[in-house]
Subunit: 280 residues, 2 copies
Amino acid sequence: MSSVEPLKARRLYLLLRDRILSGEARPQTRLPSEPTLAVDYGVSRVTVRRALDELEREGLIERKPGSGTFVSGKTAVAPMVADFSNVFTHLVEMGRRTGVRLLSFGYVPPTPALVEDLKLEAGERVQRSVRVRLIDGQPFSYLVTHVPERIGISYSEADLASTPLLELLERSGLAAERASQTIGAALAGPEVAAALDLEIGAALLSMTRVVYEPSGRGIEHLQALYRPDRYSFHMDLVRTGADGARRWAPVELSRPADPQAPILQKRRPKRAQPQRRTAR
Amino acid sequence: MSSVEPLKARRLYLLLRDRILSGEARPQTRLPSEPTLAVDYGVSRVTVRRALDELEREGLIERKPGSGTFVSGKTAVAPMVADFSNVFTHLVEMGRRTGVRLLSFGYVPPTPALVEDLKLEAGERVQRSVRVRLIDGQPFSYLVTHVPERIGISYSEADLASTPLLELLERSGLAAERASQTIGAALAGPEVAAALDLEIGAALLSMTRVVYEPSGRGIEHLQALYRPDRYSFHMDLVRTGADGARRWAPVELSRPADPQAPILQKRRPKRAQPQRRTAR
DNA sequence: CACTATTTGTCCGTATGTATG
DNA sequence: TCATACATACGGACAAATAGT
């Protein structure tokens, strides 16, 4: 009973939903007509209708015959916004909104890449744990963590399910002094898709972080995958250094010194899109 | 007239290509067998073969009958890595590797979101420009910029095609003092897909940045969309403040690129020996 | 040297989504 | 809205090549 799904329609549905939920297509505004959408996205009108049907079923749009299709004012669930410069995930702030599920835990031989990133010695094994973070009961991040075995033994599996890893490491007397982060994008494989309640091939935000102790050896390697509709990174910067150097430093999140501070926790990135008219 | 494209096969192809180009699947390693892939990704073997055919055609994999499918040592084009804390896109570093195409330019009434973000006054219009950045002749970013009209008039359309916007603003005597950035993900619409040489619905890295002058008014609103295979954000952090505060500050960009990191590969529920074809 | 297990390569008929009118 | 034509996707089955026992 492997019924095949309407793939093109689903893709278009996802695209339009993304536009609506991201706030690009604002409530009460009219969507392009069905024939226009069909031409724009290179599909038939039947496919467009299928996508719109789905959106209508979810209450995201309202169709008025003879008039057009309109974005309804349905609000999306507030996504989570993280301060990019804050390496610690502070449970205090997250509070009871978030939870953690420990999917797997064990000690494995490291891959070559891990040896390089963590500067492991020959034969040294790593502790590998896979966790899923939830917000309001909904999964939003998939975390694969690798820690050198000599460090990993300082806490238990149960600790990991309740306490942020970096906090555990600190309690063990380890000093996290330097960190290195890279943000990119990736596609969801079967495991991740299942864990994050997505379909295979969905787009994800990815972050790779390596934390080092003063000696320069790595103490944590984290590969995180986020649902972009539920998580994004944010950073406020101020100009520093009168030496003409174009340096910018992050500012505190908690203290919005300026009443006009531009941060709003709930704001999501807008995806701009040239509505009309392309130039070549 | 080929009316329908192989969507599932294409998706699987993109997924596997992502794994290979990102370095997760390392050269010379063996991919899971076709039946295994079919089960893992919930498609038929025929579909798996189509995806592998495409990869083989591009030389990313080598198939050895009876033996398996192997990742060939073909190196991906080095993607661009940006220092996240550096608001300025320094042409100096980018040098001649990069180029800019100005797609559109003009003055338009602002959207409600823009009014809010830039703190525009009633009736104030904005200058809107759409640019595409190229690296080695290949497009990697799609930039939609909005600038208040009172500021935009200080430079010409030609300037914009050759000089970074923030530099132009500085020359006009404007002080960029604070900035606010959000990174997320988005899906490619028709225009962006065409501009970035992608297909509609492809995943993109998105960044929204608003730059403020000391008075608190916005002087630039940038919506950037990046091809994740050609661009990513990087940041090195050091611990600051012995006051126990968990502050981290960015340091100078030292090393070029961390190859993108590990995602998990589905393990077979069978009795698997240390076959270890996992991620890195 | 065979025997076995697993892999890729090739074929089939069937079912269903998509485009067209 | 409906019906038709076509391409894709599916689940088989079987052959050939490879590697390990």
